[in-house]
């Protein structure tokens, strides 16, 4: 499963950051490392991009790139503010 098809609010763990080159490096540098917890917080009204909550920050990337990040579901339910 990738970030692009994750459901809103699901608590996810990053397994692998695919893609390549500079963009992948930038995602890693922003803290999207394997093992990091992430949630898809919202989807833009026009369907793209999506908003992620990672390490307490809101980051937005496009679905095309989100599809390169594979994740597994941790536990269902709303991601609460203040979680690590």
């Amino acid at each position: 499963m990738t970030l692009a098809d994750a459901r809103l609010g699901e608590l996810l763990t990053i397994r692998q950051v695919g893609g390549q080159g500079g963009f992948r490096r930038r995602l890693l540098e922003l803290g999207l490392l394997p093992g990091t917890q992430v949630t898809v917080k919202s989807v833009a009204p026009l369907g793209d991009p999506i908003e992620l909550l990672v390490r307490g920050a809101s980051l937005s990337i496009r679905k095309q790139e989100a599809a390169t990040v594979s994740v597994t579901v941790d536990l269902k339910g709303q991601f609460r503010s203040g979680s690590p």
């Binding site: 490096r25 995602l27 009204p45 390490r55």
Partner: protein, 743 residues
């Protein structure tokens, strides 16, 4: 007693030593600029980084020597960055400034501004700077936003650099930060950290370190971090000045070690160190939950599929209203002021060309410059609010889907939409875009938007040359044309963006990474400061060019001198910038003008402007334009709406049939050639409208692009491409219309 400034030691400097340079670095949205203002307290100097048109803001601040005496230091506000690794020249600025490369001065100290709620991610940049052994002080900013702040002594001990808690908006912690800066400047000990990179990685890194260019003058301790920088920056980049050996070394390393995920190894090692450090500092400095919950609640409305777009539409309408209507009273006031100055001068000075130069060239030219200020100030105030509150990122988030079709970032929306008011502030607003290429592309297409200066021209042409009839019996022709022109402008802008983005300013597609910071109350003083600085910048840099243009255009249409008693129409010329056709001069005094007409006729017909108009006629004829329109086009360079008054002038002077002053609109409607045909048929009108819609014959726009790009190349390109496109479009309309039997 000698000073112990890190850069002044042991070097004998014959002249006055340069003040130490302190760099302010940090991620975007950390309140860096607010902290810059809090530290400097005075107006910043705005310049550019060497070789690139990225704004370099700096200010002189007082620092204290160990012996207690005051000394000046240069505080430089670096562009926001998440990391030192760079793919583009503008991203490389941070590294170059920190290392003192590319004719940047070698800094004595870096003050890293950190968002207290985002320590881990912010420390990534800190770590990179510390690896380069640059003396550093950390400002843990927006400390009020975290519920249980980490202990500063503990954090300082873990990191090995001094950390100070600050709240730049409330000016809390600034004194402590200054003290830390003074101390770091006098001690000057660079941090030294050693990360546990995998041994296999380090083993191969030597080859890259060997390929690092001599010109970077790296000390031994900087070779390894720079080799890491090269490895994580080079390849898939747009960097200039990277020696080919270095490129090759990085490529080789990736090939040799292709069984390893090098990027992940490097980034992972750094984050492991950061997490370890934060574990020791007890508290991770999490964002204050109530604050973030509030942000989430606001987003639930502002990013809602329906409500979000309503709010977005509302913001767009406010932007429009402010630029069109809000700025209007001020613009009007400026115009009244300018004409009052002109009347005073006219009243007290004897007539003659020096007076005309003063009145029409200089005072009129200053008016032409100042008249932009209300819109510029308002637009930047609005941008300041949008940026500071965090809504600008949401605008980008909402509209990205549309803007990316043009190969532009969502942030380009505000400059684009401002183009409907005026291209000049819109072009200045492109500074909110990070990539040079995006800025350039936006600048090159925004002048195609229907700016408000085109409206008087459209009103004149549509009113004069098109009958107030209804299409199909119900659709009013004139109104439809006006709406059509707006539609045409949007299509032309989008089309030009699409084409230019794939040709002239082609660049590799850069995926979007957009941070949506929590909503914050805008900081009014910072916004006011920015508005003043932008306006001053415009006056100084673009204003002089615009003033010069106005004087040249005045001269073009005013020499050789006419007999002394030239008519009122002549004196009402070029300077009457915002006059519409209906208010044109001379209505009041019909009889005397007929007499004057004969004498004054030669003025404009013999002027260089008319000569240009006539010279251009062979080029303009296929579009259906005569020399008079040519003169009007020359005049419209001062400002598009001047076309109207220049045309009136052309008619006011060369009027030789009825002798009655008819409003210009009437005049153009009834004008007949010798053979009885209309020189200004609706077909000519359509051709002229298309020409005005596309051609960038606006000296102010060209001047402001020259200011923003620091070269005449791009204004020249814009002028040429819009000119050619306008000619071709008008040609197609006029000749096509004739082919199907329109006259």
């Amino acid at each position: 007693m000698t000073m112990a400034w890190p850069n002044a030691v042991s070097v004998e400097v014959p002249q006055k030593p340069r003040p130490p340079v302190i760099l302010l670095a940090g991620n975007p949205n950390t309140g860096k600029t607010t902290l810059f203002n809090a530290l400097s307290g005075e107006a910043a100097r705005v310049g550019n980084y060497p070789g690139i048109t990225v704004e370099r803001r700096s200010a002189s601040i007082n620092v204290q020597n160990p012996n207690g005496s005051q000394e000046k230091a240069d505080l430089v506000d670096l562009p926001g960055a998440y990391s030192l690794s760079a793919r583009s020249p503008e991203e490389k600025i941070t590294l170059e400034a920190i290392l003192g490369l590319a004719s940047n001065p070698v800094p004595s100290l870096v003050v890293l501004v950190v968002d207290a709620g985002q320590l881990a991610r912010n420390f990534y940049l800190l770590l990179q700077i510390m690896e380069l052994s640059v003396p550093t002080v950390v400002a843990i900013n927006m400390i009020d936003e975290v519920s249980s702040p980490p202990s500063m002594p503990e954090l300082s001990r873990c990191l090995g650099v001094t950390c100070v808690a600050t709240n730049a908006r409330k000016k809390i912690g600034i004194t402590e930060l200054r003290k830390a800066i003074d101390q770091a400047l006098s001690s000057g000990t660079p941090p030294s950290i050693n990360l546990d990179y995998p041994a296999s990685l380090l083993g191969e890194l030597g080859k890259i370190a060997d390929a690092l260019p001599e010109s970077w003058q790296l000390t031994e301790s900087r070779r390894r971090p720079m080799a890491l920088w090269a490895l994580t920056s080079i390849g898939d980049d747009e960097l200039r000045d990277i020696p080919s050996e270095l490129r090759l070394a990085c490529e080789n390393m990736r090939i040799v070690r292709n069984d390893h995920d090098l990027d992940l190894e490097i980034v992972h090692t750094r984050y492991a160190w950061i997490e370890d450090c934060l574990r020791h500092a007890q508290n991770k400095g999490l964002s204050n939950p109530p604050k973030r919950l509030m942000s989430e609640r606001i987003d639930r409305v502002l990013l809602h599929p329906v409500l979000g777009f309503l709010a977005f539409a509302l913001v767009t309408i406010i932007l429009f209203q402010a630029l069109f209507i809000g700025a209007d009273p001020l613009i009007h006031l400026i115009e009244i002021g300018v004409s009052a100055c002109q009347s005073v001068v006219v009243h007290y000075l004897p007539s003659g060309w020096p007076r005309d130069l003063l009145v029409k060239g200089i005072i009129g030219g200053v008016g032409n410059v100042v008249v932009f200020l209300p819109q510029i100030a308002l637009l930047f105030a609005i941008i300041g609010f949008l940026e500071d509150s965090g809504y600008m990122s949401r605008v980008a988030f909402l509209i990205d889907r549309v803007m990316r079709l043009l190969g532009l970032h969502g942030r380009a929306f505000v400059p684009m939409i401002s183009g409907f008011a005026c291209a000049v502030p819109a072009i200045m607003a492109t500074r909110t875009l990070e990539r040079q290429r995006d800025r350039l592309l936006t600048m090159l297409v925004v002048p195609l938007m229907t700016c408000s200066a085109r409206l008087p021209v459209y009103t004149l042409i549509i009113g004069a040359l098109f009958p107030p009839s209804r299409l199909g019996g119900w659709l009013p022709l004139q109104g439809t044309l006006m709406v059509g022109l707006y539609g045409f402008a949007i299509v032309a802008t989008l089309g030009a963006a699409w084409v230019l983005g794939r040709t002239v300013v082609k660049a590799r597609r850069v995926p979007l990474i957009l941070e949506l910071p929590p909503y914050r109350l805008p900081h009014l003083r910072s916004i006011a400061r920015m508005v003043v600085s932008r306006s001053g910048d415009f006056l100084r840099e673009a204003g002089t060019i615009i003033l010069l243009c106005t004087i040249v255009l005045w001269a073009l249409l005013s020499f050789p001198r006419a007999p002394v008693h030239n008519g009122p129409a002549a004196s009402a010329m070029v300077t009457h910038v915002a006059q519409s056709a209906q208010q044109l001069p001379g209505n009041a005094r019909p009889q005397s003008d007929a007499e004057r007409a004969a004498e004054t006729k030669p003025i404009i017909e013999r002027s260089p402007g008319a000569w240009i108009g006539r010279t251009l006629e062979p080029v303009l004829k296929p579009l259906g334009f005569d020399w008079r329109i040519g003169v009007g086009l020359v005049g419209s360079f001062a400002a598009r709406e001047v076309f109207v008054s220049t045309m009136a002038l052309v008619y006011g002077i060369s009027d030789n049939d009825t002798g009655a002053e008819v409003p210009l609109r009437e005049r153009m409607r009834v004008e007949r050639k010798k053979d009885g045909s209309r020189p200004y048929s609706p077909l000519v009108g359509a051709s002229l409208l298309a020409f005005f819609a596309i051609a960038c014959q606006c000296s102010s726009t060209l001047a402001v692009i020259r200011r923003e790009t620091r070269t005449w190349r791009w204004p020249a390109f814009l002028f040429a491409y819009t000119g050619i496109l306008a000619w071709l479009t008008s040609f197609a309309i006029y000749q096509g219309g004739r082919l199907i039997g329109l006259s």
